[in-house]
Amino acid sequence: MALSTEDIRNIAKLAKLQINADELEQYKQDLSRILEFVEQMNQADVDNIEPMAHPQDMMQSLRVDEVIESDQREKFQHIAPATQDGLYLVPKVIE
């Protein structure tokens, strides 16, 4: 599957990545080659095969509903790029 430069721009947008104009061509080539490679999958007849999402067909385990964690907001916010009054700061979203 050969991707176009426009495809790369769209994928980058989905992935929240900024790809510069001078990198587009390289990504186009690399990603197209990877997709071409994975097309080997078409050799397999997978009609009526149940998809396998997980190595063990198991149920989600549940634990007893009791408090086991304590509040560690200060410790966790200590490593944040920007905080104020116990909140995480991001650039202004609403004018």
Binding site: A15, V38, M41, A44, V46, A53, K75, Y88, V90
Partner: protein, 482 residues
């Protein structure tokens, strides 16, 4: 002291032949002397290690299984108060605020961490060259790679800069570097070891496991880290066997399968000869060797390079520059902050995999890629299930080549992906696998992989231990690091 195995060191410490402080000091000096050549550590914590060693020496009576022995942790395991970078600029400033369960369990067992080892960025790679902190080198030839992604843990142990180490394996990232560095590496069954605090790459494939000089050392490590953890709902609640006691069981009568697909064209004749010699040793121990078939094995890499990127694109969406990790300078708005923080923080291979994953999961392509890959995953898993109805273990080379040169494959993602041809199917199925040293070609180690049924790690450790009692490949030390 560094020529002893971990199990021998445990016994020597118990008999007070030397103290943990002496042992740790010795390894600290070795790292200071030799790691310049290897770049196997990202963060070296000698003060912390010496402090822990003193505590280990002061313990009396019923001490932990690994009391006083030094280990090294792949820099993917969160360690409270210590930088945990995953070899990425994205986490260069990340001081983990908690311990991974594996780290907690190793601490409880009395092991002493010397530091955090280098790796491929976010565990995506097979050569440990994509690290933000520079490529790791192979102690057998420092112009060559140690394999990856857990290359720092493998390189450090092969050079005897630690007694054992921890890695993670998503497509072969413990077994392939173990093979390329001439040591033993065990990938446990998916769910045997908690993934809590292990930075996620592809959550349905990732599994932490040990590197040791011997299978016996891996048994000691696995004993300490295995078990159910309420903090990881995919860890499995079933009893942990006594792996150490199981080592001495006779292997006579065990049946070992050789997948014919792995021994056809494409396999290097010299590597095939080494594997054949190893089979002779197993036969001499009373194992029966027979040919089996894994008809869908050839599709494993293709399915993996849809599934792993799909999971990674989802997992790595957490790196947004808000709560921890890298944030770009002077963002003009929220969108700009997300996009630039991620683009500046992630390296090329990580970005490629995120984009492949985002594409494979996007509207209109989901069935053709992701769903098809999941169906192939089922076929591969069924192949192994059929194999284990007639054999106890499946044997193959671990890697199609010995260690390759630095930069030899780093420009071509596909060539690099093919290094994992023998290992990747095991992750798709979720099975345990071990790599054992079986000799050398032009001075470079060759590894053999054994795979067993779910939760049958003891079969692998038992076979490995019995094989290593007959051979000495695993005891060789690279001459520059003696």
């Amino acid at each position: 002291m560094h020529t002893l195995t971990l199990a021998q060191q445990v016994r020597a410490l118990a008999e007070k032949q030397f103290s943990s402080e002496e042992l740790v000091k010795h390894y600290v000096q070795r790292i200071e002397t030799y790691d310049e050549k290897l770049n196997s550590f990202i963060t070296f914590t000698p003060e912390r290690a010496l402090e822990q060693a003193k505590q280990a020496d002061s313990r009396a009576g019923d001490v932990g299984l690994l009391n006083g022995v030094p280990i090294a942790l792949k820099d993917i395991f969160c360690t409270d108060g210590v930088k945990t970078s995953c070899a990425s600029k994205m986490l260069d400033n990340f001081i983990a605020p908690y311990d991974a369960t594996v780290v907690t369990k190793l601490n409880q067992a009395g092991a002493i961490s010397l530091g955090k080892t280098n790796m491929d960025e976010f565990a995506m790679g097979s050569s440990s060259e994509s690290s933000y902190y520079g490529a790791v080198k192979n102690p057998w030839d420092t112009e060559r790679v140690p394999g990856g992604s857990s290359g720092g843990s493998a390189s450090a142990l092969a050079a005897r800069l630690t007694s054992a180490s921890m890695g993670t394996d998503t497509g072969g990232s413990i077994r392939q570097p173990a093979a390329l560095c001439g040591i033993t590496g065990l990938k446990p069954t998916y769910g045997r070891v908690s993934r809590y605090g292990m930075i996620a790459y592809a959550s349905s494939l990732d599994q932490g496991g040990p590197f040791g000089i011997t299978a016996e050392d891996c048994a000691y490590m696995l004993q300490a880290i295995a078990g159910h953890d309420y903090l990881d709902s995919t860890s499995v609640d079933r009893p942990v066997p006594d792996y150490i006691a199981g080592l001495s069981e006779p292997v006579k009568g065990m049946c070992i399968g050789l997948p014919e697909e792995f021994f056809q064209q494409g396999l290097d004749a010299d590597i095939a000869a080494k594997i054949e010699q190893a089979c002779e040793v197993l036969k001499s121990l009373g194992c029966e060797i027979k040919s089996i078939s894994l008809p869908n094995a050839k599709l494993a890499i293709a399915a993996y390079y849809v599934l792993a990127p799909a999971e990674c694109s989802s997992n790595l969406s957490r790196f947004d520059g808000v709560r921890f990790g890298y944030r770009c300078e002077n963002p003009t708005g929220l969108e700009d902050m997300y996009c630039r923080s991620r683009s500046e923080g992630f390296g090329d291979e990580v970005k490629r995999r995120i984009m492949i994953g985002a594409y494979a999961l996007s509207a209109g392509y989901y069935d053709a890629y992701y769903l098809k890959a999941q169906k192939i995953r089922r076929l591969i898993s069924e192949d192994y299930k059929a194999a284990f109805s007639e054999v106890d273990a499946v044997l193959s080379p671990t890697s199609p080549t010995t260690a390759f040169k630095v930069n030899e494959k780093s420009d071509d993602p596909i060539t690099m992906y093919l290094s994992d041809i023998y290992t990747i199917g095991v992750n798709l199925a979720g099975l345990p696998g071990i790599s054992l040293p079986v000799g050398f070609l032009q001075g470079l180690p060759v590894g053999m992989q054994l795979v067993s049924n779910y939760f049958e790690e003891q079969t692998l450790l038992n076979l490995g231990h019995q094989y290593q009692k007959q051979t000495d490949h695993h005891l060789q030390i690279p001459s520059e690091f003696e």
